[in-house]
Amino acid sequence: MKCAKIHPNLPAFVLGGLESQEDAEVRRHLASCSDCRRELEELRKVNRALEAAPPPANPPSHLKDEILSQVRAEQRYLSTEDESSVAEERASSTIARSKNLRIILSSAAAAAVVAFVAIGVLLGFQREEPPVATIQLVPTPQEAAGLEGYWGVAEIRPQPSGNQQVELKLNNFEQPKPNSYYELWFVSGESRISAGSFTSVGKGETRVMLNAPPETRNYHTLLITEEHVDERPAPGDEAALKGVVP
């Protein structure tokens, strides 16, 4: 048995989830394959770590309401304090909390690759952070027909300058027609802001790094269009991929 076949079964083997015949096959293979034995040891480390995992359980739904209710009550209390020194101290404490909540959210969002669009803290944190938003790009209906393995991902990272760095990872994204190129747009309603133009290698993965101005933070749809050289600079109509910022 070749490693290429046995490797996919190793995690299940570690978890004890194989049928007896498969389990025996893996054991036989391990006896003669040092690569797989090394891989097995790595997987066992993960398995041992899982022993420390807490049980998968959700807290009761009422808890969240109770916590938010308590926060509301404390906010009301703080906001009705007099203009005394004590009140000033409490108020400044509230401001500090609020500022930090905003920072916490940015950090937490970056860590989990989720955007908090609703509270306006989508962007603007640390340059080393992972993307604030990862957006699936799917073919527009007119492009989807007959295409296979054609998809893309856009990762958006805030920059210290305020710009948004956009990394496109496009799979099997066909090359533009002759004298044409692709352009990435941030779209909001009828408004568009260009994030730059690029070409594609066609089959396989195309990676592109573009930058968009800070104004695009409030533009929650991404659009890639095919543009023609020497034509009007306005956006074209041939939309190829589209994604929505969560």
Partner: protein
Amino acid sequence: MARLTGPEVEAAISALYDRYSRTVYGVGLKILGDRPSAEELVQDVFLKVWRSAGTFDSSRSSFSTWLYRVTRSCALDLYRKRASRIPQVSDGEPHIAIARDSSAGPQEVVDESWLSWRVSRALEVLDAPHREVIELAYFGGLSQREISERTGMPLGTVKTRTTRAFKSLRTELTIQDSSREPIR
């Protein structure tokens, strides 16, 4: 940076709760051993996040590490508070039946929670389909074939997802380990 308004604060706490409450609750079950205490822990932790947000310094630690410290501190307080109580037994749900060594002191028990926290966070950042196969396999004790039958997923998909989930967990735990700062 502008001050958050009341609704924004609520939205912020709400978002953080959605992201981290399962981990806090799970670690609470692991450390404290019963659901009422774990619920009390969740409440204490998120109120402390609101009250102590000013102490979070993003240049010194990640939010997750800071929240772990808050959780550990609250758990120790709860542990001590109910030290004289008789530990409750499982309510019959197998995943709540946590065995604890009663000989260990509160500090020792809580200190073990760091690994629980890290593994929980690694599981939480898996996407739902990959987390599902790990939870069914590890916590549910199901074989790959049983997972396939239970979920309707083709057996090959179950195996592929298990492999990818293990790979992601390994990567995530390695990242967490390499970025780990001393937990005091």
